[in-house]
Symmetry: C2
Subunit: 341 residues, 2 copies
């Protein structure tokens, strides 16, 4: 599938979804839309994503043919920026689908809906879960698949990135590995998945279970993108539903170096990662026992020496191998899966 990615005025530093699709997506990206950096190429900004020659253009009219337009940025609040309307309209008129992770649903916009019907294209709002979700049956352990779940000490600790790097490392090692997306960026990168944080709480475990069940025949290893943290004052329900719904055989604990309190909830200190490993394992145990496979440490703010030191310290704390997946990939963690076979 050929895609164009809308990232106006935010590419690449504030365009998490756009960069995620470029780095990890199976789609062929033919253009990035950013009126501020138009005239450059993706390679000028991101030399390491395998998209050197892809043009950054001002508007849809300047892009080569594509099958879908992806909204690759998410402003605070998740609203639709009216300055994007011309591009969305042009994309539909070129018979392309439009995929969006915004809170604002394109499929509820009157102009887009009418135009989409005329052109027979799909408006896909990836933040909208399927409407036929049900309660979990608790059957994942009976499926012929090994499940690895990334969990966090907090939100935004790199769970999606760690999960995608684990999939890549597992495939490089010859494993038949699949990605299980649970958030809107992961869904846009993968094309499938369910935004677990938008499901009705009675069905949160069940929605996660469904994602595993749908993929269990196709893969030997499934790497599930975690959400939130089990100690997050606001989002722990999502985390708990994923933990019990996915029934993971292994956990990978994701943390950001130096973060000492829950982001945005600074009066809640993050406990010692070792205590969190124990808490996740104790909570999983009565439903499906699990064990720590490794750790992922986001060392973006550190230089190379500091990062190495932080990773060594983190390994000591959690008692398992750790990586910064962006610096090092995730081979060191996948090796432990190979040892287990």
């Amino acid at each position: 599938m050929r895609v164009a990615i809308l990232a106006h005025e935010r590419f690449p530093d504030r365009a998490k979804t756009a960069v995620g699709v470029l780095r990890y997506g199976d789609q062929e990206v033919v253009a990035v839309l950013d009126r501020e950096t138009a005239g450059t190429t993706v390679g000028d900004h991101l030399p390491d994503v395998g998209a050197e020659g892809v043009p950054v253009v001002e508007r849809v009219a300047d892009a080569p043919d594509f099958d879908a337009l992806l909204i690759g940025i998410a402003p605070i609040g998740g609203g639709f920026d009216e300055s994007w309307r011309d591009d969305v309209r042009s994309a539909i008129e070129r018979d392309a689908d439009v995929v969006s992770g915004l809170h604002y649903f394109l499929a509820e916009d009157e102009e887009f809906t009418a135009l989409a019907a005329d052109h027979g294209i799909e408006l896909r709002d990836v933040r909208k879960p399927p409407d036929d979700l049900t309660v979990a049956e608790g059957i994942v352990r009976g499926l012929d698949v090994e499940v690895i779940l990334t969990v966090g000490t907090d939100c935004s600790t790199g769970k999606m990135t760690a999960t995608l790097e684990l999939v890549e490392a597992a495939r490089d090692a010859g494993l038949n590995a699949g990605f299980v997306p649970t958030g809107q960026t992961g869904i846009m990168i993968d094309g499938g998945g369910i935004p677990i944080d938008r499901t009705i709480s009675d069905f949160t475990n069940g929605a996660t279970e469904r994602l595993i069940r749908e993929r269990a025949d196709e893969y030997d290893y499934l790497f599930v993108e975690g959400q939130g943290s089990i100690i997050h004052p606001a989002y722990s329900a999502v985390t708990c539903g994923i933990l019990h719904g996915a029934q993971p055989d292994h956990l990978v604990l994701c943390h950001e170096a130096g973060r000492e309190a829950i982001h945005g909830y600074e009066s809640f200190p993050i406990p010692d990662p070792a205590d969190l490993v124990e808490l996740y394992a104790d909570l999983a145990e009565p439903v499906a026992p699990t064990e720590l496979l490794g750790g992922s440490l986001n060392t973006y703010e550190l230089d190379a020496d500091e990062a190495e030191e932080a990773i060594t310290e983190y390994e000591g704390s959690i008692g398992a191998p750790a990586v910064d997946p962006v610096r090092d990939g995730a081979d060191a963690i996948v090796e432990r899966l190979l040892d287990d076979r």
Copy 2:
């Protein structure tokens, strides 16, 4: 408020909501509708709910004046039984509101909606959460109120009943105590509350927090109705959201005597209650430390001697006083709150 309660063919044994409202509700019940036991009185079936002379009638036309019709039964699947349509129609024509906990929303039924508009009455579907829910801010510990949450070893262990009996015992002891309903039966009994199991998982903690915040000024003690169990394969997300959203100072662990596995999920054994106390406390700790106040044991299946024995054994296991709230009330647990003052 004067209410009539619809409980056709199910009163009293399979009419949990009807019996709950009769036993604990502040409403004045003027009639129960059950075409099978019509001609009897509530007292013939339930001598201990203070509604001896209330008639059981065949249809709305036979009932005295009332302000609201409550649907007091919930068939498997939560559908609307068409044999109830005449009664709902008659109630609206008598200018009464209709309150329902069914999955089927009365406010989406064309006939009822049109009729309701004509008569200026409200169709209240208590399974529908408010649409302006938000994420939790983690502020309950800053409010001037003491929070007690019932938690369970499983679903259907008597959490709602225990909570209501705790409120009653606390009021009898002179405490300014309020009930926080989180499920449809509790909501129908109380008139307020949010069905937490129907909230979007990102807002589950926040919806719980909102319930506490709204009542914190009015009461010194709030008793929160728990849901599910933290080890339930399907419903743990709901339980976790309530635990972290409510930030309870105290827990009351509810269990059914003799139950050894999760109901409907028989391959999942229920751990030793003592281990569950520890798990709930460990999970609560990083957000808001809590401690066990007491236990509630459902001994419905046992005779008096067996019940006493089971309660003593349960107390030994959890290391705190326990009651069967239906047999004994909850004074023994509330006394510990008084000791704390």
